[in-house]
């Protein structure tokens, strides 16, 4: 025990030659809380002091405490000494100790080989295969969700309205404060940095264009999606992953309920509604932040800002921004849910899958956003 000094039973054991018998008087305590790992030294000492072939008696008269570990170590000691055909006896055991030694002897085995760890080359091959497998698996998952969702839209009774509403609350309404705060701050930062740079060109009025266009087209939808991926996508992965580990997913399937119906589709629908609304909210609050900072740091007042805004920021910019949101929503919900289903049977894998869900959805969101920019510039929106 940590709080007590640890004794070394091997050192406390005395080894003597008595007549033509080697006598080993065992120390009093042989339990896991002593230094049983020193038994090898005792064996070497005995072998050094008592010539080969001389019979040995392990004298347990002083032995007051021995547990299974101690009995194991002492049996191994006896076995080690027996090598070479020497006669070894353990004497002086109480009945209880005797039965313990018998029990241990009856159950001694070599430890099994540890689970095989794959070689680096195999791991590399397996991981590149896995990437391909994962991609195919994810796409087929996406397809499955998409097809059943369309089916549910045709037969609206299949939409689990209550689950959708509950998800709207947690993924949408509950996210308002954090998204509001962050977009307000982003609006302030852009206005401040922009005003400073534009002033050097005497182009102060363009601050309205800068704040409006950058927020509505890019920053508000992108930032909202990233926050929601961290907040909600990870929660989806953790929830479904835990349900996998506790066999709740299996229970659903056995009851004839499709995990997609119950676990995935309500989340997808909820996020398809929530994310565009959150984006609009981020647009408004972000622009308010920009307006505030503009009036504070430049000569442009709120009235001019608001009058100028509809003239320089076309409706398309707003629609382009909000239009990206459902795509991001689909990415976040499906990546989160899919990762959850990939969790195997340990708490560790739930953690790993939750991390991956955020990393992958943020990655996909940014890639898709870049793709949108390219497409929009080609079609000239």
């Amino acid at each position: 025990m940590a709080s007590r000094p640890i004794s070394d039973p091997a050192a406390d054991t005395t080894v003597r030659l008595e007549g033509d018998v080697g006598s080993v008087r065992l120390a009093a305590r042989w339990t896991v809380h002593q230094r049983l790992e020193r038994a090898g030294e005792l064996e070497r000492r005995i072998l050094a002091e008592i010539a080969g072939g001389v019979p040995i008696v392990l004298d347990a008269t002083d032995l007051v405490a021995v547990d299974t570990a101690g009995a194991l170590v002492l049996s191994q000691l006896a076995d080690g000494l027996r090598q070479g055909g020497r006669e070894v006896r353990i004497s002086g055991l109480t009945d209880a100790q005797q039965s313990l030694f018998e029990m241990v002897a009856a159950h001694e085995h070599e430890p099994p080989a540890p689970p095989r760890v794959a070689l680096a080359r195999e791991r590399a091959a397996a991981s590149s295969l896995r990437v391909a497998d994962d991609a195919i698996s994810f796409l087929s998952f996406l397809g499955h969700v998409f097809v059943t969702s369309v089916g549910a839209l045709i037969r609206p009774r299949q939409i689990r309205g209550r689950l959708v509403l509950r998800n709207l609350q947690t993924a949408g309404a509950d996210a308002l404060p954090i998204i509001g705060l962050l977009s307000f701050l982003i609006g302030i930062v852009i206005a401040y940095q922009g005003a400073f740079q534009l002033h050097r060109f005497g182009a102060d009025v363009f601050i309205v264009d800068l704040v409006g266009l950058s927020l509505l087209r890019e920053l508000a939808p992108l930032m909202t999606a990233i926050i929601v991926a961290g907040r909600t996508g990870s929660a989806y992965a953790a929830q479904i992953g835990t349900m996998r580990v506790t066999e709740e997913v299996d229970a659903l399937r056995v009851m004839g309920l499709s995990p997609v119906d119950v676990l995935v589709r309500p989340k997808v629908f909820a996020l398809l509604i929530a994310l565009p609304l959150l984006t609009v909210f981020a647009d408004i609050v972000g622009v308010l932040g920009g307006l505030l900072m503009t009036s504070v740091s430049t000569d442009i007042g709120p009235t001019f800002f608001l009058a100028q805004f509809p003239r320089v920021v076309p409706l398309e910019s707003f629609l382009v921004g909000v239009g990206k949101a459902p795509v991001f929503a689909l990415v976040i919900a499906s990546v989160g849910c899919w990762q959850g289903f990939q969790a195997s049977d340990s708490a560790e894998s739930v953690g790993a899958r939750t991390t991956l869900s955020v990393v992958h959805s943020v990655f996909l969101i940014i890639v898709l956003d870049a793709a949108f920019s390219i497409v929009f510039s080609i079609v000239g929106i």
Binding site: A69, M103, P115, P259, S344
Partner: protein
């Protein structure tokens, strides 16, 4: 011999003393004044219907929860005032089998058993592995089970592995929450024999929560029955079976009747005693019906 190495002197001859324990969860009263002792070297069975507060009482003995009122002493130490190193030292004298096993999913069975040994002793890794392998054999698992992860085990194998972990430090007080549930009758009896053997060889004290009447008859020195928040009966099995209280008597008769009906279902194989191969699970079509 080092004087610190003597068994820690406890004034008390009881391993556990439960005094007037009251436990409430909100307005639900789970224990309503419970007192009893578990003597050293005794195998004490705690019985009662589901939700009668058996597991909760065990968690209180383990210092995982505190009773709302009353006191619990373990090896003479009052849990209420126990802190820090003393609380830890007491914990290393207890071995626990949780109802659901509670094996660590990221460790193999052998590593699970080795964990308390690695943390609380100076033993070297090789010896720890050998001790773990011995415990695996003791609980009736094949040696290969040691290199499996919990997710690759059947329910009964999880129970046995968790018991092996509970035995890792050769604890003085062993707390078993439904050890035989999920085991086939033969496995359950083997486990009973193991508990008796351990008590004989190591002199340990056992608190066992169980619904298995046959197991109680085989191993228990005394039985405590929880019902309605009270300790309804306390005494040797034979005494409770012939109790004047029809409820207490009925528990054993009723349980025996149910047991004989459910324990040997025709044509249903019990838990395989060995380590069958883990059933590979496909993960790619999980979302399909």
């Amino acid at each position: 011999m080092n004087e610190f190495d003597r068994p820690q002197a406890d004034a008390s001859e009881n391993a556990v003393e439960v005094r007037d324990v009251v436990t409430r969860f909100g307005r639900q009263v789970v224990h309503d004044g419970i007192s009893f002792d578990i003597r050293r070297g005794e195998i004490f069975a705690l019985v009662g219907g589901s939700g009668s507060g058996k597991s909760t009482l065990m968690r209180e003995i383990l210092q995982l929860e505190r009773p709302t009122e009353g006191s619990i002493r373990v090896f003479g130490r009052d849990l209420q005032s126990l802190r820090g190193a003393d609380a830890l030292a007491l914990k290393t004298r207890l071995g626990v089998l949780f109802q659901g096993g509670a094996l660590f999913g990221s460790l193999t069975v052998l590593e699970n058993i080795g964990l308390p040994l690695r943390e609380h002793t100076t033993l070297d890794p090789k010896l720890i592995e050998q001790i773990g392998t011995l415990k695996i054999a003791l609980v009736g698992l094949p040696p290969e089970a040691g290199s499996k992860y919990p997710s690759e085990l059947s329910g009964g194998m999880i129970k046995r592995s968790a018991l092996a972990r509970a035995l890792a430090l050769d604890a003085e007080l062993l707390l078993l929450d439904e050890p035989t549930s999920g085991l086939d009758p033969a496995g359950a009896r083997a486990l009973d024999r193991l508990v008796l053997q351990l008590r004989r060889s190591l002199g340990l004290t056992v608190l066992v929560i169980t619904h298995d009447v046959e197991s109680i008859r085989l191993v228990a020195d005394r039985v405590g029955m929880l019902a309605g928040g009270k300790l309804l009966a306390l005494g040797p099995v034979a005494e409770l079976e012939n109790s004047a209280d029809p409820f207490v008597r009925g528990y054993f008769q009723g349980a025996a009747a149910t047991a004989s009906r459910t324990v040997h279902p025709p044509g249903r194989a019990g838990e395989p005693g060995g380590g069958g191969p883990a059933i590979p699970r496909r993960t790619d079509d999980l979302w399909e019906e």
